[in-house]
Amino acid sequence: MSALDPREELTQRLGLAEVPPVRFASPDQLRTALAAHDYLSSDAISSVTFLADRLAKPVLVEGPAGTGKTALAKAVADSLGARLIRLQCYEGLDESKALYEWNYRKQLLRIQAGRPEGSAEVWSELEEDIFAEEFLLARPLLEAITATDPVVLLIDEVDRVELETEALLLEILSEYQVSIPELGTLRARQIPMVFLTSNNTRELSEALKRRCLYLHVGYPDVERERDIIISRVPGIATALAEQIAQVVRTLRLMDLKKSPSVSETLDWARTLVILGREELGEDLVVETLHILLKYQSDIDKATREIFGRAS
């Protein structure tokens, strides 16, 4: 038995009419497309995203907060002109919020309305009626599965969900289908692109990791961070952007409670532009350090180490 291309195999299993075309021709083309939407990707990001599309597998993006994991999914959706369906995970997330829920109120109303005077409605007809798709409230995962227009599914901060709740996701991630006891199995009408993000606050289960391609997004190096600043902060001088990236690198090398993330770097850069500064000086940095560091103990430590004085 010859090995089938994963996309062909999935197409057969889902019963689609034809194999959907590959979305990106190469990692470089992907990178250019994302850059057009202000997202600068590294080699790792563009190659893994390309592979995910090619192999029809979801991508698990893991890394510290504020490094552009969610932004990646948004940028991919923008560049494809696809709708972004987002499931924000939290502790206590359950099936009814993630997958689907029966619209109890509508069902009750239907049952009460369907009783013409005097006669008792046949139960079997009623049962079929109230368990139809119109009484189903589709939550993000189901919505992504049943969509016919192009969609990108983003399952955000999956590490917030408890270990047992991850089981909800497994069927969707490997088979792209949802089983509803009363209705049967609903299969995807296309091969969606799926991103999962995690802030690494806990170990995800093996079963989940197995179904995904893994992408680690760490803090960018100085060159890339400078490019990101230039791209996202209009009107900033290149020299200042470079200095900003260097200062942030220095802070990340220190043992801080919370290292500055890329979004904090951008906040700082924007603040400096608003203040009209063209270069960094000791006083300016000390005054604005609280934009980068969110803990007083970190601010004290950084001020002590770099400037040798109390803040």
């Binding site: 994963p6 190659s47 592979l51 109890y104 009750l108 197995r210 992408l215 043992d255």
Partner: protein, 443 residues
């Protein structure tokens, strides 16, 4: 196992001649954790990196030297060395990666002295090459570039970090070059064995070298944070509390007054009290520091944490942790501020216990759990085990954590067997992983 199958299937669908894509495919399917990335990169270099078609080790060693011999006459060895150093400095200054790599190749050929068949590790060759190049001096010169009289502390710091980064990048290139030559000499399988790294969680704390110690320090903070998160979630998830009638009635309104959804009050299990008594002498000190850091990082899981440190005198350090929200900072202050030397600076467990009993035993309750950290090496002072017996009688539980391997217990001046009858359990606790699982189990 399944990851290997995934990797193979992924490779089937791509053009494996595309080297970067090949590597990305392997990494995306085989590596499932951020910590493992560097291990993957090393293993990949050993097995798959581009091999230049230059035959075996001897040819590689001979090539650069022969070209330099052609270039000059009597002075050539020294001048070529200086030229190489200048070439490298320029490459570093301009941050020219290709020139840096070129210099790395030449430096390894000239200085590492790799001989075929010699059973020496890559670290030795790296050390030789770096020393001959005097990289420390080069880093100093690099960081001084562009600075002047008027440079402030910030500029100096940025320059020095930038110089350090470039030197580290260069060292990585040298290491990679050495590894390639060794693979050529010994074959990939043999190399793969020798580059195997231990994960930080499995490093033996007592025997860690300086680099491993740095790794441990770095791993401690994220580890304690993950533990805190995991325990907080476990606590919330436990048995449900009693039924909350008001909440249930409210949510039944959306289902026509029928309480389909039953709501419960959140559970509120009692939090334990912890008292830590830690030996901070000599080699046991780092173990004590890590444990204190970990326990205080999850202090919200306990109703109260009190910490004491001793060598032959005992001192309470709870206030240091209360004053700072960063356990690492408090731990640093212990070394400076705690008053632990009373007599001669050699551990005296008996004296420490009796000091503790005299001043604090009356504050122990049936809800307290006591943790003693140490190797029980008493320097032949009197044991005073009866004091420990008394302490045990007042508390819920008493545990002893010993960072030494079990086979060393009771050897020499270790009197663990005199204390262990009064402990609920004596545990070998040598790695962060063991420490984490014990501390997690306390809650």
């Amino acid at each position: 196992m399944s990851e290997t199958v995934d990797a193979a299937r992924a490779l089937e669908s791509i053009d494996i001649a595309d080297q970067p894509l090949f590597r990305a495919a392997l990494r995306a399917t085989l590596v499932k954790s951020g910590d493992h990335q560097s291990a993957f990169d090393t293993a990949y270099d050993v097995f798959f990196a581009n091999r230049r078609d230059e035959g075996d080790l001897e040819t590689m060693n001979a090539a650069p030297e022969s070209s330099s011999r052609d270039a000059g006459a009597a002075e050539s060895p020294q001048r070529s060395g200086a030229e190489l150093a200048d070439q490298l400095f320029d490459a570093l200054r301009e941050h020219n990666l290709r020139a840096m790599r070129q210099s790395a190749t030449e430096a390894v050929a000239r200085y590492a002295g790799i001989e075929p068949g010699r059973p020496v590790g890559g670290a030795y060759y790296l050390y030789r090459t770096i020393r001959q190049l005097d990289l420390e001096e080069m880093e100093r010169r690099l960081s001084a570039l562009g600075l002047g009289e008027s440079s402030d502390a910030l500029e100096e710091r940025l320059a020095s970090d930038e110089a350090h980064q470039r030197i580290e990048d260069f060292k990585a290139m040298v290491e990679s070059e050495i590894r390639e030559r060794l693979v050529r000499d010994r074959g990939a399988e043999a190399m793969a064995e020798s580059v195997r790294e231990t994960l930080p969680e499995d490093i033996d704390v007592m025997h860690a070298n300086r680099e491993e110690m740095a790794q441990l320090e770095r791993a401690l903070r994220p580890l304690s944070r993950k533990l805190a998160v995991r325990l907080a979630r476990k606590r919330r998830r436990r048995r449900r509390g009693p039924i909350d009638l008001r909440h249930t009635m409210r949510s039944s309104l959306s289902t026509g007054g029928v309480p389909i959804d039953v709501r419960f009050k959140p559970p509120r299990p009692a939090k334990p009290e912890i008292v830590v008594i830690a030996d901070v002498s000599g080699s046991v000190a780092s173990f004590a520091r890590f444990t204190l850091h970990l326990v205080h990082a999850i202090s919200s899981q306990f109703s109260q944490v009190r910490s004491f440190v001793f060598v032959d005198g005992l001192d309470e350090v709870t206030h240091l942790f209360a004053q700072s929200d960063d356990p690492a900072e408090a731990v640093e202050r212990i070394t400076a501020e705690a008053d632990v030397i009373a007599v001669d600076g050699h551990s005296d467990y008996g004296r420490a216990f009796s000091t503790f009993a005299t001043h604090y035993a009356s504050q122990l309750t049936r809800r307290t759990t006591v943790l003693i950290l140490g190797d029980a090496r008493n320097n032949y002072h009197p044991a005073q085990a009866n004091v420990l017996e008394d302490i045990r009688s007042r508390v819920k539980a008493l545990y002893w954590l010993n960072p030494e391997p079990r086979s060393y217990w009771n050897s020499g001046d270790s009197i663990l067997s005199l204390y262990s009858p009064h402990c609920d359990d004596v545990l070998e606790c040598r790695t962060l992983r063991q420490l984490e699982s014990f501390v997690g189990g306390l809650t």
